[in-house]
Structure formats: C-alpha cells, structure tokens
Amino acid sequence: MEDLIEDLTRGNVTEVKMLLATVVLGLAVYQVLLAGVAYGWLRPRFLERGSASWTHRASGDTILVLTVVIAVMCIGYSGFEDGGAHAVVATILLGVFATKVLVVRLGGRLSRVLPLLGVSLLILFGITWLTSAGEFLGVG
C-alpha cells in the first residue's frame, strides 16, 4: 500500500495530502456559506435557496471523495501509531461525516440535526488541517 501511494504521488505523499486537505478546508468553508443560503439564514440577491442547495450537494460529494482519498493515504502510508491528536480528531471527523451522509439519506426528523453536524464538520476539518497541513505550512 505504501509503495502504491508513493508511486501515485511520485514520492510527494505529504505535499499531495496537504494540497488535498487545503482544498477540502476551502470547500468546507464554502459549504457552510451555501448551507446558510439554503436554510435562508443568508439572503444574497444573486443566489436562491434551491441553487445554493444544489451546489452544496455537488460540492459535498467532492469533499466526501477527497476526504476518503486523504484518509486512505494517511492510514495506508502513516498508520495510526504516530498520528497523535491528528489521528484522533480525523477519526472523529470520519465518524461525523458518515453520520451526516446517513442523516441526509434517511431524511425525516433527523434532518433537524444537519446544521449542527455541518458546523461540527467544519470545526473538525479545521482542527484536522491545523494538526497536519497547518503545521507544515507554518499556520498550526
């Protein structure tokens, strides 16, 4: 697995992970803004709730794929042993992300917790980024 990841990233495993993680964080911030429009908390003149909701889902699907790729790269290449706080927060993040996807699919009364799950996810993405890519980029 390690060799496959090395080959795919041409030896730049850390750099590729950092790049993808930064893309995910940027999109996660955008997701919360789009959700704000979709829920009617933000009312820009140029964007309706339906369009915001559609983009929120499309962008969310992209984030999900990228998050799984990063997680596979992290666990497959570095493992859990030396992960420390980053590994713990990232594991919680994956759990919350899976719960959010499940709640979206199930719908009904559970949908009321979606904003809470969404904001929790943004915070977890932020902490996970700060404890990995942020440290390398001199932010964390």
């Binding site: 041409r10 003149r45 964007l47």
Partner: protein
C-alpha cells in the same frame, strides 16, 4: 431593483466559485513548496552526496599514490 440571475446562471456561478476556491488552495500550497518536488530535491541531494563521495575517493587514491611514490 436588479433582476435575479436565472437558476442555470446561479448554479454555474456557484460552481465556478467552488472551482476558484480549489484553484486558490492549489496556488497557495504550491507557492509554499516552490516549483521543485520533494522527489526531485531528494534526487538532487543524492547526486550531491555521490559527487562528494567521488571526490573523497579520488583524494584517498591520490594520497595512496603519493605514499607509494615515497
């Protein structure tokens, strides 16, 4: 009051914003690393080490030759 853009334009616009965010993230991270990949840097470092080793080896051979000549 200005008219609201059509739904298609809204969708396209919001997707373009997402693409712009992705492009900005890529630009910021790659600017931090510079244009050279770590694999290339490693290879460069390896070549430098090899060159230093060769020089040391040559110097040792030279010394051995001098000692023999004495």
């Amino acid at each position: 009051m200005t008219a609201r853009p059509s739904q298609g334009a809204q969708m396209l616009g919001s997707l373009l914003v997402a693409i712009a965010i992705v492009a900005a993230a890529i630009a910021i991270v790659t600017a931090h690393f510079g244009p050279t990949s770590s694999a290339e840097l490693d290879a460069r470092e390896e070549r430098l080490e090899q060159r230093e080793e060769n020089i040391e080896e040559l110097q040792e051979l030279e010394e051995e030759r001098r000692e023999r000549d004495r």
